[in-house]
């Protein structure tokens, strides 16, 4: 039930519904649990509803932290 992988928003209708691209497949999603959602945003979808939006700045921080750990352990 839990799609743990983020998906990108491709379309949004006026009624808050739309589509995401989930690993290459277009899937219908309801966006009414998120505010100010736009095409191009990355979201996590659960039971047909987008429940949260990906924060790209936070994602970059995690990735750089992981690279630092690998480098520190490699020394």
């Amino acid at each position: 039930m839990c799609l743990a992988i983020p998906a990108q928003v491709t379309e949004i209708d006026a009624d808050g519904r739309g589509k995401i691209d989930y690993l290459g497949t277009k899937v219908k999603v309801d966006f009414s649990l998120l505010e100010n959602i736009r095409p191009g945003d990355w979201v996590i979808v659960h039971a047909g509803f987008a429940i949260t939006r990906l924060d790209e700045e936070e994602a970059r921080e995690t990735l750089s932290l992981l690279r630092e750990i690998a480098e520190a352990q490699g020394e």
């Binding site: 429940i51 690279r67 352990q73």
Partner: protein, 369 residues
């Protein structure tokens, strides 16, 4: 995002974790609350390397299908086998849970009634709009991750006055269940990996009592292998610093204050009640039901369903002990013998978030380490 699965980073993180447990001088036991975390740990073969690094991971109650007592499934079976002209719309894994009355997959529906698998409660509402001549009931279990979707759907049904739609739900709240596990004191848990997507809805505050009242640290973790290890590393830091806290290691997806829109619709539509969890027993204010003003959309009220809780586990099934973290799935005598994914004996072997299913699926990998 390849760093989240990169094997050299995984090894570096495991090395860091091993260093921390060596400095602590004792092994630690951490409960991963969410079934999808259990899946990642086994899929990427982290269980054994973590044990070697001094961390024993124990699975928690984080599988809604697993913790829903059989009596709820049996009430649903009564509906579909006894009521005519009826559509029961359910999440797929709910239909395979075996009970004393069989499972929904084996049930013979009453005349003109049928079972439909849906992926979203909204799909069930669409069925009700399209089949005005039939009664449609959505049957679903879920945690805070799923509950907002169900609440929005009922709100829409009420706004549109869809008179032939109702829900038979088992809605569970994670924080009260963690309190119950800590109060029971059966497993000595040194820390928690909090579920990533439940936390995306509720934020960090609802876990605060675990650090403050119980002195147990925890971290919200994501679902990639290196996310899990970052979460474990954070829990170890808190143990070493003797500063139990609720830390966020999944900031790219979880806002510390959660999703306010989702929480608002939950509060608008639902209210807490004491609920009976498989294995964990009755837990105060751990379930949600529709408020009185929306009871017309609750199948229990609408069809006078009686759910006699407390006696429905199939004899021999040890799912309850698995859910409490008392035994590991292979310790159940039925595991892999009378109970497997093709012919599950209990719900923990049905759901892909179930600990027994996950252990079974990845047992070869685990043996190879």
């Amino acid at each position: 995002m390849k760093e989240l699965r990169d094997g050299s980073i995984t090894r570096a993180l495991l090395g860091q974790i091993k260093g921390k447990t060596s400095r602590l001088g004792r092994p630690v036991r951490i409960m991963e609350v969410c079934g999808t975390h259990t899946m990642t740990i086994h899929r990427y073969g982290l269980k054994v390397p973590l044990e070697e690094a001094g961390v024993d991971m124990v699975s928690g109650p984080g599988c809604p299908v697993c913790i829903t007592p059989n009596e709820v499934h049996e009430a649903c079976l009564d509906l579909v086998t006894q009521k005519e002209n009826f559509i029961l719309a359910s999440f797929g894994d709910m239909t395979r849970v075996p009970t004393r009355k069989g499972s929904l997959q084996t049930a013979v529906p009453a005349r003109s009634s049928l079972l439909k698998i849906v992926y979203s409660p909204e799909e069930a509402l669409a069925l009700a709009r399209a089949h005005a001549d039939k009664e449609v009931v959505f049957f679903g279990a879920g945690f805070e991750t799923t509950i907002p979707a169900i609440a929005v759907t009922v709100k829409r049904a009420a706004a549109e006055r869809v008179g032939n739609f109702s829900t038979l739900t088992a809605l569970w709240l994670i924080p009260p269940a963690l309190r119950a596990i800590l109060l029971a004191g059966e497993t000595s848990i040194s820390g928690f990996l909090y579920p990533g997507h439940v936390s995306a809805i509720i934020g960090l505050e609802p876990y605060r009592f675990i650090a403050e009242e119980f002195g147990v640290p925890g971290a919200v973790a994501g679902f990639e292998p290196n996310d899990i290890l970052l979460g474990i590393s954070s829990v170890l830091d808190q143990i070493m610093e003797e500063r139990p806290d609720v830390r966020l290691e999944y900031g790219r997806v979880v806002n510390p204050s959660g999703n306010p829109v989702a929480r608002a619709v939950m509060e608008e539509m639902l209210e807490p009640r004491d609920a009976l969890w498989r294995g964990l027993g009755r837990i105060p204010r751990s379930g949600l039901v529709l408020k009185d003003s929306y009871r017309a959309y609750d199948a229990r009220t609408r069809y006078g369903l009686h759910v006699s809780e407390g006696s429905g586990d199939l004899p021999g099934c040890r799912c309850g002990e698995v859910l409490r973290g008392l035994i590991s799935p292979p310790q159940c005598p039925l595991f892999g013998k009378a109970c497997g994914p093709d012919s599950p004996f209990g719900p923990c072997m049905v759901s892909f978030e179930g600990a027994c299913f996950i252990h079974h699926k990845y047992k070869i990998k685990q043996r190879m380490g």
